[in-house]
Amino acid sequence: MSILVDASTRLIVQGITGREGSFHTQQMLEYGTNVVAGVTPGKGGEAVHGVPVFNTVKEAVMQTAANASVIFVPARATAASACEAMDAGLPLVLTIAEHVPVLDMMGVYHLARKKRCRVIGPNSFGVISPGKAKAGFMAHRIFSQGHVGIMSRSATNCYETVFMLTNKGIGQSTCIGNGGDMIPGSAFVDILPLLEADEQTQVIVLIGEIGGMEEELAAEYIKTQVSKPVVALIAGKNAPKGRSMGHAGAIIGADGSGSAGSKEKKLREAGVHIAQSTADIVGIVERLLQ
């Protein structure tokens, strides 16, 4: 099965005529993703890699019956594009850009709940269901199809893990880039029910990091609602205090909130296997699958 994106995904690329949008549209098409439309205001009627371009998402949806959008526009235009996608009724919107203002995302977050839309990102590599489809910019060659579902706040830590898993012959069901920002459209706790329900997923990997309460909330949920084994890594244990570590969300408060210690404790209490490094994740997953 896999989750969020697969062969039934009919994807729009917002910002398709831009450098990133155009390049990654090509990459997504090569991977087999069904990219049905692009949107760039003022470029309606053109085509990019054979994909028709529309001026608005609404027109693109009416013409192509699209059911998801990935947004490749600059950070400060991301929220407006996400609102347009939600307004057009799309149930899945992936935001990629880094440095989207937090309050922009706050608005998107609340609108998404009102519109019953699932937003992924920002500051995310997107979502990939190996062998089926990808929506985003991840280096897809390292992924392989299998039974490990991964959600990660960090792209690089996810890549590193996937690379080692694939080298050991362990494939993935779906990998989700939750993104490194303070207000992610979807947190771990929003993705967990999908992975729990997904028949293809046998083991769940959670790659978290310092800052915020997402891992703690995930632990609460896992304790009572998740039957599948969960492996977690919390990055940034030894990061300097009070400094945002590049990911806007990865910061420990002056009161010590968001520390790795509290996250690991809560996850461990929920029966989650705690890994100390990406290599350690792979070792634990290997044992769990035997």
Partner: protein
């Protein structure tokens, strides 16, 4: 980005919040010109990015021009816990009858702006929060609803303030919320929000922190001007992110993502070594830019060794190796460089590295192997 009081008050004034108009002083010689129409008594306030400046002697009253000059001379150039005073704000003194506290920040859990209010404001607000948490009122504002009159009523009734303040408090709430959302702030704080001797509310102090992702050109320029760390600034000019970690550390790390940098710090620390600083290249760095990143670290930073760890998605391995080669050709090879890369054009990158022919450049095939190489080459203190 945290703004100094004078800058925060400029934003306050722009949004119609009640601040007393004063002037900003960078040099004592400007005093004669700027103080012409000054109202007395006034206050001279050090502009530094650190709290507790009043208790440290960084705020002084002045009743006449002579006292004003004396106060400015005393405070300008002062060292307040490592922060040198280079700018002063002079404002008319407000006759304060009561001090309240009002701020808006982001509640990360609720994903909403949260108003924090207390009728017991002033310099001891943190003590109030510890000892009388019931005197601190917190109220989340749903961004789809915004600030409404009932919010002011809630603060007044929960905060123990007379109902007569409803109108003036509501006005301030609306304006501070407009500022918070309009300028995409992470914090807007008024402490104290003073009731003056005529019963009016005045923002006597102002603290504003703006989201780094939402700076306009003028704030971005101001941020560069105020940046204390030379390497942070230089890295920023090259669109890199430099983060100092531990001055006692021996190793710096360059990588292409925040998560990987954090993982590197964790693994290096676990292997009983210490990270001095890290530099995030971002995606798709070319050989030229990678050379600059290495130069920033090895030519200027105190670290003894460098770990370059790249998982190439957008960044190509041959560009990484090319950057190392360019650096060595230009600056020589005195310090240890351990290179690990994986992904696009790895073989081509390896070939370039082998061609460098320096024993201080070591390739490691994997993250853990890289960290081991650092240990073997004497990076444990």
């Amino acid at each position: 980005m945290d703004l100094m009081e004078y800058k925060a008050k400029e934003l306050f004034a722009e949004y119609g919040l009640p601040v007393r108009k004063g002037f900003v002083l960078d040099k004592l010689s400007q005093l004669e010109d700027l103080a012409v129409n000054m109202e007395f008594p006034c206050m001279v306030k050090a502009q530094v990015m650190i709290g507790g400046r009043g208790k440290a002697g960084g705020i002084k009253p002045a009743a006449n021009p002579e006292e004003l000059r004396a106060a400015c001379e005393a405070i300008m150039g002062m060292d307040i816990r490592g922060h040198k005073v280079e700018r002063l704000l002079v404002t008319p003194r407000t006759e304060i009858t009561r001090e309240w506290y009002l701020s808006i920040t982001l509640d990360r859990l609720e994903k909403m702006p949260v108003i924090i209010f207390s009728a017991l404001g002033g310099v001891d607000i943190e003590q109030t929060a510890d000892e009388h948490p019931d005197k601190i009122v917190k109220l989340c504002i749903d961004p789809l609803i915004g600030v409404q009159r009932y919010h002011a009523w809630y603060l007044v009734s929960k905060g123990g303030v007379e109902e007569g303040f409803i109108d003036s408090l509501f006005e301030i709430l609306k304006k501070v919320y407009d500022l918070f959302c309009g300028r995409k702030c992470m914090l807007c704080e008024i402490n104290p929000l003073a009731v003056d001797n005529t019963g009016k509310l005045v923002a006597v102090d102002a603290k504003v922190s703006v989201d780094d992702s939402a700076l306009d050109a003028s704030l971005a320029a101001l941020r560069d001007e105020m940046e204390q760390e030379a390497l942070v600034l230089e890295a920023r000019k090259h669109r890199f992110l430099y983060i100092p970690c531990n001055t006692a550390g021996s190793i710096s790390v360059i990588s292409n993502g925040s998560g990987m940098l954090m993982s590197c710090i964790d693994i290096i620390t676990k292997e009983e070594m210490c990270v001095h600083s890290v530099l995030d290249l971002g995606g798709g760095a070319t050989a030229d830019r990678i050379k600059e990143a290495i130069r920033i670290i090895l030519e200027q930073d105190e670290a003894r060794g460098l770990f370059i760890n790249i998982f190439g998605g957008i960044t190509r391995c041959d560009e990484v190796a090319g950057g190392v080669k360019q650096f060595i050709e230009q600056y020589g090879s005195q310090k240890l460089i351990v290179v690990r890369f994986e992904g696009t054009n790895k073989e081509k990158g390896l070939e370039i590295l082998r061609g460098i022919g320096s024993e201080n450049v070591v390739f490691a095939d994997g993250l853990h192997q890289g960290v081991s190489a650092l240990a073997e080459r004497g990076m444990r203190q």
